[in-house]
């Protein structure tokens, strides 16, 4: 059987490419996304490599040099105990980024799980969405106190004080911020579920969990990505809120949110104390958001379509 158009390459079609390559090409086309990527990589490099260049320990106290404006010895100035702000911003960045990214991943995992289950299985929809409502309504602070009380010592003895608290904080932020993701994912799953390729998969005898993993998830990825980028931002900020409620890391553990909060009262004395952590948070959020925009554009099926 002959078919002219089947074997001849279709007009406008480049030879076969990988999806990753495709997405990267789309991503590159988004200028904001590229700039965001640069800034983000710069920040990550700075907080991880920076301490090797600026070799001042973040919690060296030197009361005689407190509340200093930026100088060569202390490029970002010092705080009210004489600790070097640059070193603190760098150290804080490591924690804030780690918390932001892991908490976001956890929230994403939970949100996606709940969203997919409730979108895909009609019977679970009602109960899961009501549970989402419940979590939206739960008062964060008492919840935190309960969690701290129940798990802190166990975690501390299992993972040591710092990792223990880290796990706890990530967990707390994670379980209190997945609800929006769940809602969005559910909506998307509902839309994807009615598409014919899902019916096709079912009719070929695929098991439900395989359908979810192979067909549903990849197609709701773009909205998950958007939640992810917003999630990092809110996780960093939530961590700062926890810190100043006294529920976060120990006080000699700088994080961006905490530095910003502690510095706020010293704004008139040493403005650099709030400037840098504030800038760091904003730039991270901004860059991640631009990246998210670009990723969403790159994953958009409309862009993939001929």
């Amino acid at each position: 059987m002959t078919d002219a158009s089947a074997t001849a390459p279709l007009p406008g079609i480049a030879p076969s490419r990988s999806v990753a390559g495709d997405i990267w090409r789309q991503f590159r086309a988004h200028r904001g996304g590229l700039a965001g990527l640069f800034v983000f990589v710069f920040i990550v490099l700075a907080v991880y490599v920076g301490p090797y260049i600026h070799q001042v320990a973040p919690n060296t106290i030197n009361v005689r040099e407190r509340n200093q404006w930026p100088s060569w010895a202390h490029p970002f100035g010092t705080d009210n105990l004489g600790k070097d702000m640059l070193a603190q911003v760098l150290a804080g960045g490591r924690i804030s980024l780690a918390v932001g990214i892991t908490a976001m991943l956890l929230a994403l995992l939970l949100g996606t799980l709940v969203g997919v289950l409730s979108g895909y299985f009609r019977r679970l929809d009602g109960p899961l969405m009501r549970m989402t409502d419940l979590f939206l309504a739960l008062p964060l602070l008492p919840l935190l106190l309960v969690i701290l009380m129940l798990f802190r010592d166990t975690l501390r003895s299992a993972f040591g004080p710092e990792t223990g608290i880290f796990i706890l904080i990530v967990f707390v932020i994670g379980i209190t911020s997945w609800m929006h993701t769940a809602r969005i994912v559910r909506g998307d799953v509902l839309a994807v579920k009615s598409q014919e390729f899902i019916v096709a998969a079912k009719s070929s005898g695929m098991r439900e969990h395989r359908i979810i993993i192979r067909h549903v998830l990849p197609n709701v990825l773009s909205s998950i990505m958007v939640s992810a980028t917003l999630g990092i931002a809110s996780a960093i900020i939530t961590e700062s809120a926890l810190s100043f409620l006294g529920l976060g890391f120990p006080s000699d553990f700088p994080t961006w949110g905490r530095l910003l909060y502690d510095g706020a009262n010293f704004m008139q004395l040493t403005p650099s104390r709030v400037l840098w952590p504030g800038l760091a948070i904003s730039l991270t959020v901004l860059s991640v958001n631009f990246m998210g925009d670009a990723i969403r554009d790159a994953l958009d099926p409309r862009a993939l379509k001929r």
Partner: protein, 336 residues
């Protein structure tokens, strides 16, 4: 539509009961204690007496059932009495009492509502009013300078915490320029133009801080939704009819785009009632948010329980309202 709404309302009841139980149990587990605030000079025996007088010696289940009755039967009756002037029974009903103030929780909430609505509500409203035009223009001129700047500003607005913007505002506008007061006066009654002006002045900063934050979020939604709709076939139809570009945008596209935004906005309304805790604290707008945070910090459990539950109620209610609104705005979803 109507029966659908009714049915949803009906099913909300068990949901709410479960939520109330979870909230109650959770707060019961929480380790904070109402006597934690008292000076250490008060001896432990006295503390014990205080706890007993708060009813803390009863079992969890009894306290829960009591609360249920107080909240669902007694308080609504009281409210009805005060609204209509009728008398039900002898009026000697147990009310949900706050531990810290020893006054009925509902009265406290009613007292706080006005400033919360004024400040947080207005900020929400302003946020929406700012967000819509910006979102519309950003979407219409996607990738233009306006869009880029708008995106940048909204991202900054989203990423800078309110405790920071609030303090900057106080330092600039209260300390240096002395334009606005840094402390909100909840006693101010608006009776004439002068007091109105004072009210506007004291609301300016908290409203600005919150409106910026709200607007940054809603703008993103409006923009995304507009972009979705601008590519729809019916837009082309409208243009083919010769409808003016402005009408295409504002009548056809905007109306459609607002449907998802309306749900987002409706679902955000409960957060008005939970208050903007940090902003209220900074400007001393003693609204519901401040009430909640002092209650949590002072372990005023009945107050936290009631406030949280009301919040849950609002979330469920506004979920419903969002659904109903969706149906009203979008004829395709109208049920029955």
């Amino acid at each position: 539509m109507f029966t659908y709404t009714l049915r949803r309302l009906f099913f909300a009841i068990p949901t709410l009961l479960v939520i109330s139980f979870v909230i109650f149990a959770l707060l019961d587990l929480a380790p904070s204690d109402p006597t934690g605030d008292l000076p250490l000079t008060i001896p432990p025996e006295v503390r014990e007496q205080i706890r007993a007088s708060l009813g803390l010696d009863q079992t969890f289940l009894i306290r829960y059932l009591k609360w249920l009755q107080q909240f669902f039967v007694n308080e609504p009756l009281n409210l009805l009495e005060s609204l209509t002037g009728w008398q039900f029974g002898d009026g000697e009903r147990m009310r949900v009492l706050s531990w810290a103030t020893r006054s009925p929780v509902v009265d406290l909430i009613v007292q706080r509502l006005p400033q919360t609505l004024w400040v947080v509500g207005l900020a929400y409203l302003f946020g929406i009013l700012i967000a819509i035009p910006i979102g519309v223009i950003s979407a219409y001129k996607q990738y233009s300078i306006f869009d880029q700047v708008g995106t940048f500003v909204s991202m900054v607005g989203y990423s800078v915490p309110t405790f920071f913007t609030g303090i900057v505002m106080i330092v600039v506008f209260s300390s240096y320029l002395q334009w606005f007061p840094s402390v909100y006066d909840t006693n101010l009654r608006v009776t004439d133009l002068d007091s109105l002006w004072l009210q506007v002045k004291q609301m300016a900063m908290p409203v600005a801080v919150l409106a910026l934050y709200n607007a940054s979020q809603i703008t993103r939604f409006v923009r995304a939704s507009m972009l979705d709709n601008l590519n729809q076939d019916y837009v082309r139809t409208a243009r083919a009819k010769g409808v003016k570009e402005k009408a295409v945008l504002l009548v056809h596209v905007l109306r459609n785009s607002l449907i998802p935004v309306v749900t987002v906005v409706a679902l955000g309304v409960p957060t008005i009632f939970s208050g903007a805790i940090i902003t209220e604290q900074i400007f001393r707008v003693n609204g519901l948010g401040q009430l909640l945070i002092t209650a949590v910090q002072g372990a005023d459990i009945p107050l936290v329980q009631t406030l949280t539950f009301i919040f849950a109620l609002l979330i469920v209610l506004f979920n419903l309202i969002a659904d109903v609104l969706y149906g009203i705005l979008d004829p395709r979803i109208r049920y029955d």
